[in-house]
Symmetry: D2
């Protein structure tokens, strides 16, 4: 109820602060009998990890995950899985000044308004560092869904600042620090270098996609699959917009164009983004999110201090000039958690997920 | 868990189908001691009601609300408030053919995949008619929030099909059938008349806004105020995109531009849309949503039937050519329900909502 | 969260007051495809109905149930089932005096302390009349469980006031107004007649039992099957104690006696009452509850009024001299709701409920 | 949903197994601004700790608690509090045989039926060791309630096996290993010594009590305060019965006797146990629970193995001959968690807990 648990039947409770002793999560509801070890989780954590290129924060965190419970002799037991990540690189001295002022666009102000006190070290609980346990939990969900339904999750960056990134191939994504689906990222590198020198930050647009999602997932009226996806995505730090399928482009579409015709050979298009009436159709889930520019920047900004007096704020310390760069594995993980939860919910109400109709073949996307 | 309850502390359980005997909801968690009668609820229902102009469905429904419980001698008692709306105009004969085929872009297909059977009359449970009880529940939330904090909710249409609607004044919204914030809507009327004659449909973009929202509402990490707004909005029928504040425009913004500077006189901008780190800042909440074109259209479409055979589908019956037209009061109501729920949650954890700091004056918007 | 919804995956939201226009409930999570009509529900409501013998309240209520949603062409659709029962016999005049004083042992006092106002007519929301919708919902759960697993629920009275009732046969239960499992109830009738003349009331002890419960239902650590049974039973009006299996007698048992030995032919005893470690074993669930004497009695009592001044209270009106008499169908229904919810939960986490081991045959009880 | 989270607004998610690397919990919803350190928690853990007398298991566990999150500069921040207890004494060799057979009366059988696999080391997740994190969480709740309302929780043993323990004074409880409220416990010591030599076990009856509970806590209809207490208590390992106030004795009481008369000087009795209509009255909460004899005993028992074949089972290892001995601090903690959760729920719905009426003075108990 206090907003630190994600999901209902595959429920992930997240804890920790950026500069506390540890961060982690408890997964409640993982089905028993699945082989699981740290090696299933670490690769996704490594994709999200800071300090891996000059374009992201230089904080050095190994983000080594430890399974504390819920696994016996290499198999999940159906009991809670606690995943722990110790914090190692905490330079708290950088944050002493921040405690007295508010960074424009940062949660500094609202945390203090809400709680009457806050942990200013590295943003405390508001830090994007708290997405690491979700990436870890997402890896568990991904594994179960892949084994059970062959579901696959992929993501990439489609825009950084004002630069749109053409989609060439999923194969490129792992080969550059931007998760860009393009072979040549030199333009992006130059752009980021200039931005960093200017002491400024920029936004990004990320696409995430899931294939092999069974038809029938999602609950009407409220826990619609797309509603829960929107909730999951908007909950990621710095996200300001979410689209499913055609998204905002559907405003100017005609009904004769937007509606994806089903045929015996597959749907003819995917404007729906895989969701109709809040329920998965078996087509690929297609999601796009907007990430705002980082609020912790070196350029001086007009602001106030905790007494309400005007001040100029300059944020030192090690910050991502574009938090969107590391957002791809996070968005993938959140999408996997939503699908996982709904797979279990569907099973509760309707038994094992066997569509009553022969599913329409997935369209090529 | 089956997705028919919205909210946690102000929980609204929705029931009914488009052509069943009745629709309605049960509100659980309304604080006791507030004056409440049907007259507080009916005006918002009337704003959403079908059959009020030639641009919306001609189905005639009075949408008369009846309070069945939770109110004694004109006051809420703190016990569940059941709101009932009897269906009166159910021409089920129009829908006999629909049961055997799938409208492209409609929940027909996914409901059958999920449940193995469905109620085809008027879309059954997938009908936008089920938003009526939410508008009713939203009216209760609006009243409580207005009395307690002076919170006000407003909405308008900002785009229909490819036509952007300039914002002139909130005063115009109630004076035209489109909820347009402009004095002259003749262009919109012509556009809709042409579309209707063409047997086609179009999308729309809606803006909703809330002023007088106390600072401190919203829960980190997951039930962030903006995450719950995204969930609420994406759950409205036909919504494909949600933006908070600058939304997708923030992708191309610089951090020096995006971050709203707080000053003793107020914030200098509202790119955040009233939410920082998932928590309300006291600025106006600003939300924008994309609504896709109606899938029930007269133009023939390529599709399949329930056996998987190719068919041509033409939807007769009385449908909105742009479901976005009636979406404004719905979006307002959903925003009110989210704010209400978070107001109670804040009170649970932090006592009555008294910001520890002097709130920054609201910026003029 | 405000306590008017029972269950998680088979969630029943209850609304109404004793003398309001109607009472009812919304069942969310009933699996689709089950034949359902009012005729499946009415018999259980009739068993609980007031006015059926001189030993219960003389209020005349037909308790006619109406299905408002969730059923199409005689089958559940998987969408919410709203059950409505109109109140017909509301003699509110009887209650005018009650509004100013507190009946000893009644919720009058605590409702006013909690909410600052209350509906005094017939106890308002605190009335045992609100169990009627639960009996209705329980009938739906019973039908599903019977069809799916062959589960059967039975209940009887085992003590009334100081008179223990010997268990002779389940067959007797339906043949007397006390739900007594004995052929001759003349002693009970005389006892109740004397009590009624004395203007007093008495308690009762009720046993409920379920056979055909699959092994594996119940969640450790907290939503144990027996914990949820205790919650359900203690939530019934006037219940002050709950036992599972040997209950309080287990305090004086030895471990060598208490532990039910499993054998290839079945368990040798059922001290556990069908639950081990919070999970069903496949043995019969055995539950016993204590019901306190009715607090609305004709005999004068010492009390205070709403200003805190001493008064003498005498309750007129039509009250059950032993609320336990009508409690048997209520307790059965609540047990069915608990089992139903856990059957769906088990299915969510572990797939369809197929025990990995050959179940031990049920012991004869 | 998988039953490892207790509470709604003060939600405690428990994880770990008896012989895994660690056990612990995450508390979500603790109000911010309360001073908290390990020193507030350790004393209650020490009261529950094994190995403190010859009458309990000889397993040596320090049960040292570590706060991993949610506290900054000695104060709660309103974010999740993770409490970790490392397991140190894990002699897994004792349990190799148990994996193939079922102890009569133990969760061995049902865990395997539910999950298809189980962790047999020390009972795995079914171990009473998992109550330690609840005792830790309870200590946090106790501190908040004491500071806010002056609420105090106490417990004692009132019966062990067939020996009733007279209540002499709360002062004795801390002075003997049984939590007995009596000065002389030599009879209990002899009884336990004989039992241990006989390789058998026995049950116990525990009383827990809370004073200083504000009136108005508890939700009708379902999350009644007493219903949630029953749920909490029945969820403790080995509990088979729960009573509130007069409990089962109320069956034979008359209404003229049972109803506690309120007077300006206080209630004249406390048969209600502090709860009327599911809502606290301001009187002391009075709860009594029945604990069954330990199922892990040295005496040989008739049983079956995992293939269903008959076997004789003898449990070696270090087990409590009466699990009830260490149950008092556990029951206190669970009661505190229930009251805490309802205090926050009351605040959500009704604002800060200020009874509208002058509370009746607590009766002397």
């Amino acid at each position: 109820m206090s907003g630190n648990t994600f999901g209902t039947l595959f429920a992930v409770t997240n804890f920790g602060e950026s500069h506390g002793p540890a961060i982690g999560c408890v997964i409640d509801g993982c089905p028993p009998g699945m082989a699981l070890s740290e090696a299933d989780i670490q690769p996704d954590l490594d994709r999200r990890r800071p300090g891996t290129s000059r374009h992201v924060t230089q904080r050095q965190e190994e983000d080594k995950v430890e399974i504390l419970s819920g696994v016996f002799e290499g198999q999940t037991t159906g009991t809670p899985i606690c995943l722990l990540i110790r914090n190692t690189d905490q330079r708290s001295k950088d944050y002493s000044e921040i405690a007295q002022t508010f960074r424009p666009g940062h949660a500094d102000y609202t945390y203090l308004q809400k709680y009457g006190l806050r942990d200013p070290r590295g943003g405390g609980r508001a830090s994007a560092r708290l997405t690491a346990p979700m990436v870890a939990a997402g890896a568990v969900a991904k594994k179960w869904l892949a084994l059970k339904y062959g579901t696959q999750f992929r993501g990439c960056m489609t825009q950084i600042g004002e630069i749109a990134i053409p989609f060439e191939s999923w194969d490129h994504v792992a080969r550059n620090p931007f998760f860009a689906p393009a072979a040549d990222v030199s333009q992006l590198e130059n752009y980021m270098d200039r931005l960093r020198k200017a002491g400024d930050s920029c936004g990004a647009r990320i696409r995430v996609s899931a294939s092999g999602v069974p038809a029938g997932l999602g609950e009407p009226l409220f826990d619609k699959l797309d509603a829960d996806i929107a909730y999951a995505m908007m909950g990621i730090n710095a996200v300001k917009g979410v689209e499913i399928g055609a998204g905002f482009a559907s405003v100017a579409q005609r009904g004769t164009v937007h509606g994806d015709s089903p045929t015996p050979q597959g749907f003819l298009s995917n404007n729906a983004g895989g969701v109709l009436g809040g329920i998965s159709s078996g087509q690929d889930l297609e999601v796009s999110i907007a990430i705002k520019p980082t609020s912790s920047i070196l350029s001086p900004r007009e602001s106030i201090d905790v007494r309400g007096e005007p001040v100029e704020v300059v944020t030192k310390g090690r910050h991502d000039p574009c938090v969107g760069i590391r957002a791809t594995p996070i968005a993938e993980a959140m999408l996997a958690l939503v699908v996982m939860d709904h797979a279990l919910r569907q099973r509760a109400q309707n038994g094992d997920v066997v569509p009553p109709l022969k599913p329409i073949p997935a369209s090529t996307s």
